[in-house]
């Protein structure tokens, strides 16, 4: 039984009944219903309790403007909070419940707040809860309990979302009659067109009306045009798609709900899709939203927009009541009364605030024997949990005061209309301010920075015939602006019965016999319980800018973003201040037009696709050998390779000792590699690095420090001279991309006269580093035609040759301090050479080692890691690396001048030193702060911090690198590290090279 369902009419399929539940009660609706239309069909009036006062609330609108009917859909991980019942398409098995009301919607104890509502004016929380001083957290705990609408899911989203990047000549936002004409005209002129609409089908307001065009129902008239668009090769029609944001350079973001009308979660493919649309021209045909009138108790269930009554009747064949009382300040709303009567229901009366109207619709209403009270207002709605009647009174000619006695009328439905508000949201996203048009009684789009045209109701045009021609002309104009010549210049011939429409009256708040401050609540923003009295209070307290008023009262901050309330609120403020609406300000809308699913905005770039994972050619081998991973930039690098039963420390110690005592192998493929060529390559590198590369000969390598122009270390690495005018620069793994851009910046913008070219070859080469005293023997076993004798292949040499049958480049550089060969082969041989090295090294017990062991080994040698031992505030001298700076170069290399500034030359800068803990077994935490004395009180004078710290298995004690103020002149001093756990570790300042200080081991 659907008591409010009409026997015929509507765009619903009575042959497809659908079951659903609301707050646990089962109901039936039809295919084509929204949850709201189905609830109204079933006579459900109470759908929510208000947020502040717990007042009963019903459905007001029929689309994006709905402030009250906010529901929670479904349960568990698939639940969706805060949907508007008016926009939820009904499907079989749908489960929904209210997001408010405790313990139940019907018996809501929070409504007790309503009884003390007078104690809760806007801003009351700014004036209270301040004592005792520490108690705000306790107050807040209870305030938060009352906050919020629906519940977030508590598990991960099971659905996926995707994105399409769209380009078109003309984007038409809104598939109403104006938008359809625009799309047709543009497409016919040769433009590629996208037309989108948030509803299930195109047609816009025609879906809810009985207008006629060319002697036929308007909906039938556009049906042919819609199928023409759908079949057009240059036109993409997107329904269930909301353009929610309009961004710079004609970029529009729109979300398509692909499966929400079928069920809670998508059974296949994506649930929603984000269309990222770049359009040459945008046509906004987004329609208008009716504005309610504000009167006392206007929030009772059973008070609706006139347009909503009309839409429920005509589109969904639902009459949400029996006896309608309509109140209006304009002609258009009369159509709702006429339709209501046509549906066989009683129109109690129409209250028209205007003294008179010559319009066609009012005349038609009177001709249909509808009782019209001219010059009347609705003073107050009556009823408990639903409308039962209304108090009415005659008004002064301007509609601002009551002139006659109060009368009472009985009714169970009140429809109101205060005129229409064009949907100017998208146009204002781009920074243009809507302009108040007194004649239209509405904000219309202002001047724009973007290439868009607003047409139809969204431009304040209410006449159907005018909307049709405006749309068509805009479509042509947009196509022409995009370079397409129109083929048919005539707009379509339409024949619509001419009507006369009288002007609406500038009435927003209907007067009550008591002043606003004392009248029963007159709601402006129902979702946030903002009343007319609240707005007047804000003005009284000095919150007179519209932005202050909105922020003080929360007007417009709901999930409907004030689609119904903002303009009424502004008008009430203007009245309180004695200003015009235009002088009171404008209304700025932000994206999103309607709330938009985070998942859809994120798209596929979540989970493992959040950021690409980069693997070396040897990745699977590491995986198979049990590597634990370290993320280094996007790269996955083996961190260490634990064997069965080993702790991390045991594994790292084993790996370190293997390198020191025999041989280890490291996958160094991730280091950045930039191929540099050109006659000026050496000069360029010498300008970029702190040292000189002018005399570097083919076959030789040199370590370099790269500084930013502020003198601070930015990156480091070895550069090899591959041949005349040809170099290979190694960078840190994380710095590779930034270094390449840095080189290009200088080469292209500052020194274009230098002939030098860069190619990133990081991914082209796989690097297997063999390190340890047995490294040479491993290479011999591996088989190479390179002469490995120390005299022929020295430290800091590189050689090309054949290794294990592959063409390879072998670099004798070392980050461990041991004899080291870095074997580079084309990446697709990486796995092969790695396994070959592993096999050749077997008799030396060659041990794969990861980044952790690498860090320990290099720290034993005092080698820095950029980004760990430096932090963007360290100069080469700070790192005790003055040896890598050549101050005598002819060219003032990048960063050099900054090294001479007063702060960079001062005496007590932090300098890199070593630390030895008093207790050899204690490993300092990296990041521990250093003080000179424990006798200081907080704040203590910190001298520096620990940058690197490990247990050195070869030395049998802990080692640390640290930066300490003037540390190089403080060798032997004892310093202290007070730790977070309350302990303090004493340590002695020592040189930063702990192992093989003379560097003999890498030179053998």
């Amino acid at each position: 039984m659907q008591p409010n369902r009409l026997d015929q009419g509507g765009l619903i399929d009575r042959g497809r009944p659908l079951q659903f539940t609301f707050n646990g009660t089962a109901y039936l609706g039809y295919q084509g219903d929204t949850l709201a239309s189905a609830l109204l069909a079933n006579g459900v009036k109470l759908v929510a309790r208000s947020f502040k006062y717990g007042r009963p609330r019903g459905i007001v609108g029929f689309g994006a403007e709905e402030p009250n009917a906010i529901i929670q859909l479904g349960r568990g991980g698939e639940t969706v909070p805060n949907l508007r019942a008016t926009q939820v398409e009904l499907y079989d098995g749908l489960e929904a419940c209210s997001v408010s009301g405790w313990p139940s919607l019907d018996l809501d104890l929070t409504s007790l707040f309503g009884l003390v509502g007078r104690l809760l004016p806007p801003g009351f929380y700014y004036k209270t809860f301040m004592w005792p001083r520490r108690f705000w957290m306790a107050y807040e705990h209870f305030i938060r309990k009352a906050a919020g609408l629906g519940k977030a899911p508590d598990t991960a989203d099971p659905d996926i979302y995707d994105k399409l990047h769209q380009h078109c000549d003309v984007l038409v936002v809104g598939g109403g009659v104006a938008g359809i004409q625009a799309a047709r005209a543009a497409a016919n002129a040769g433009a590629r067109v996208i037309i989108l609409d948030e509803q299930t089908q195109l047609g816009g307001m025609l879906l809810a009306s009985h207008s006629e065009v060319n002697g036929m129902p308007a909906l039938d008239w556009v049906a042919g045009q819609i199928s023409e668009l759908q079949g057009h090769a240059r036109v993409t029609v997107l329904t269930r798609t909301t353009a929610f944001g309009y961004f710079d350079h004609n970029f529009v973001a729109a979300v398509e709900r692909r499966t929400d009308h079928l069920g809670l979660s998508a059974t296949s493919a994506s649930r929603q899709r984000l269309h990222r649309i770049r359009a040459r021209q945008v046509i906004l045909a987004s329609g208008a939203i009716e504005r309610p009138l504000v009167f006392a108790n206007n929030d009772l269930p059973g008070v609706m927009l006139a347009s909503a009554v009309q839409a429920y009747l005509n589109r969904w064949a639902v009459a949400p009541g029996r006896r309608l009382l309509l109140v209006t300040n304009n002609d258009s709303a009369y159509q709702a009364a006429l339709d209501w009567q046509t549906a066989g229901r009683e129109v109690v009366a129409v209250l028209d605030t205007r003294p008179g109207s010559n319009g066609s619709l009012p005349k038609a209403a009177e001709a249909a024997n509808i009782k019209v009270y001219r010059g009347y207002g609705l003073v107050e709605a009556k009823g408990g949990k639903a409308v039962a009647g209304a108090r009415i009174a005659s008004l002064s000619a301007d509609g601002q005061s009551i002139t006659g006695a109060i009368q009472e009328l009985e009714c169970d439905l009140i429809a109101s209309s205060g005129g229409w508000s064009p949907v100017v949201h998208l146009s204002s996203h781009t920074g243009n301010k809507p302009r108040w048009d007194d004649e239209k009684g509405a904000f219309v789009p202002g001047n724009s920075l973007q290439n868009f045209l607003a047409v139809g109701a969204s431009n304040g045009e209410w006449n159907l015939k005018a909307c049709i021609s405006q749309g068509y002309l805009a479509g042509q104009a947009a196509a022409r602006a995009g370079g397409f010549d129109s083929v048919d210049l005539e707009s379509p011939v339409v024949n619509i019965k001419e009507t006369i429409e009288s002007a609406q009256q500038a009435v927003f708040l209907l007067p009550h016999e008591m002043p606003t401050s004392r009248a029963p609540k007159q709601f402006v923003d129902q979702q946030l319980d903002v009343t007319a009295a609240a707005i007047e209070l804000a003005a009284r307290e000095g919150y007179q800018s519209i932005e202050h008023t909105k922020r003080y009262t929360a007007l417009g901050f709901g999930t409907d973003q004030g689609k119904l309330g903002n303009i009424n609120g502004m008008a009430i403020l203007a009245n309180a201040l004695g200003k015009s609406i235009a002088d009171t300000g404008t209304t700025v809308f932000r994206p999103a037009y309607t709330p938009t699913t985070f998942g859809a905005i994120a798209g596929r770039d979540v989970g493992e696709l959040l950021d690409p994972e980069r693997y070396t050619a040897m990745h699977r081998w590491h995986e198979r050998h049990g590597a634990k991973w370290e993320n280094v930039g996007q790269w996955k690098r083996p961190w260490y390779y634990p064997q069965a039963g080993e702790t991390m420390l045991e594994a790292v110690n084993r790996e370190c000792l293997a390198v020191r005592n025999s041989a280890g192998m490291l996958d160094a493929s991730t280091l950045g590699k930039i191929d540099i060529q050109g006659p000026d390559a050496a000069e360029f590198i010498t300008r970029i690095y702190s040292n000189s590369f002018l005399k570097l000969e083919p076959g030789r390598c040199r370590y370099g420090l790269m500084l930013k122009e502020d003198g601070m270390i930015f990156d480091d690495g070895v550069t090899a001279c591959l041949g005349d005018n040809h170099y290979l620069m190694f960078t840190t793994t994380g710095g590779a991309a930034a270094v390449l851009s840095w080189l290009e910046l200088w080469a292209q913008t500052e020194w274009p006269e230098l002939q030098v070219y860069f190619t990133s070859v990081t991914d082209h080469w796989a690097t297997t580093t063999v390190s340890g005293p047995k490294a040479r023997q491993v290479l011999e076993r591996l088989g190479t035609d390179i002469d490995l004798t120390p005299a022929e292949f020295k430290f800091m040499d590189w050689r090309a040759g054949t290794v294990a049958g592959l063409a390879a480049r072998v670099f004798r550089i070392s980050f461990t301090g041991e004899l080291t060969y870095e074997i580079n082969v084309p990446a697709h041989f990486g796995r092969y050479i790695w396994e070959a090295v592993y096999a050749a090294g077997k008799e030396f017990d060659i041990t794969p080692y990861g980044t952790e062991a690498m860090h320990v080994l290099r720290a034993e040698k005092g080698f820095i890691i950029c980004g760990q031992d430096t932090d963007g505030s360290m100069t080469p001298d700070d790192m005790n690396m003055g040896w890598a700076v050549n101050r005598n170069k002819a060219f003032s290399f990048i960063g050099k001048r900054s090294l001479e500034r007063s702060d960079t030359t001062k005496g007590n800068r932090k300098q890199l030193v070593g630390l030895r803990t008093q207790d050899a077994a204690t490993v300092l935490p990296e990041g521990a702060q250093i003080v000179n004395s424990l006798n200081e009180t907080i704040p203590m004078r910190m001298q520096g911090h620990v940058t690197s710290s490990y247990f050195s298995p070869i030395l049998g004690h802990s080692i640390a690198l640290a930066v300490v103020k003037a540390g190089l002149s403080r060798m032997g001093d004892t310093v202290y590290c007070p730790l977070a756990d309350g302990q303090t570790v004493a340590a002695k300042i020592v040189p930063s090279v702990f192992y093989d200080p003379s560097g003999e081991r890498q030179n053998v």
Binding site: D248, R278, E750
Partner: protein, 101 residues
């Protein structure tokens, strides 16, 4: 969401293909050592940061990797023109910029 014309690729491309690289037409001093700390600090850190037309550099990072200049309005975000490194903005923009340095 900017859409930028790359003067090398000769196409309008999405902002995400590019990297912003700061104010354009800043010449590195020929002889840094001759500058005072103040003059050097000026070069290092002080920028025009205009409210209005701004000459700036972008790099077409994911494509040709070329740096180029853009005249963009920092309020409207409208791009007036893009032009290669080493050249100057057109006379029209020049007039709008109100300076020629």
């Amino acid at each position: 969401m900017l859409q930028i014309y790359c003067p090398y690729c000769r196409e309008m491309r999405e902002e995400e293909e590019f990297s912003y690289s700061g104010e354009a037409h800043i010449k590195r001093p020929d002889n840094p050592e001759a500058l005072s700390d103040e003059e050097w600090g000026d070069y290092l850190f002080f920028r025009k940061n205009p409210r209005g037309l701004h000459c700036e550099m972008w790099q077409h990072t994911v494509a040709c990797r070329r740096y180029f200049n853009v005249v963009r309005d920092t309020v409207s975000y409208e791009i007036h023109e893009t032009y290669p490194i080493g050249s100057q903005p057109s006379k029209m923009t020049d007039a709008a910029l109100g300076s020629t340095d």
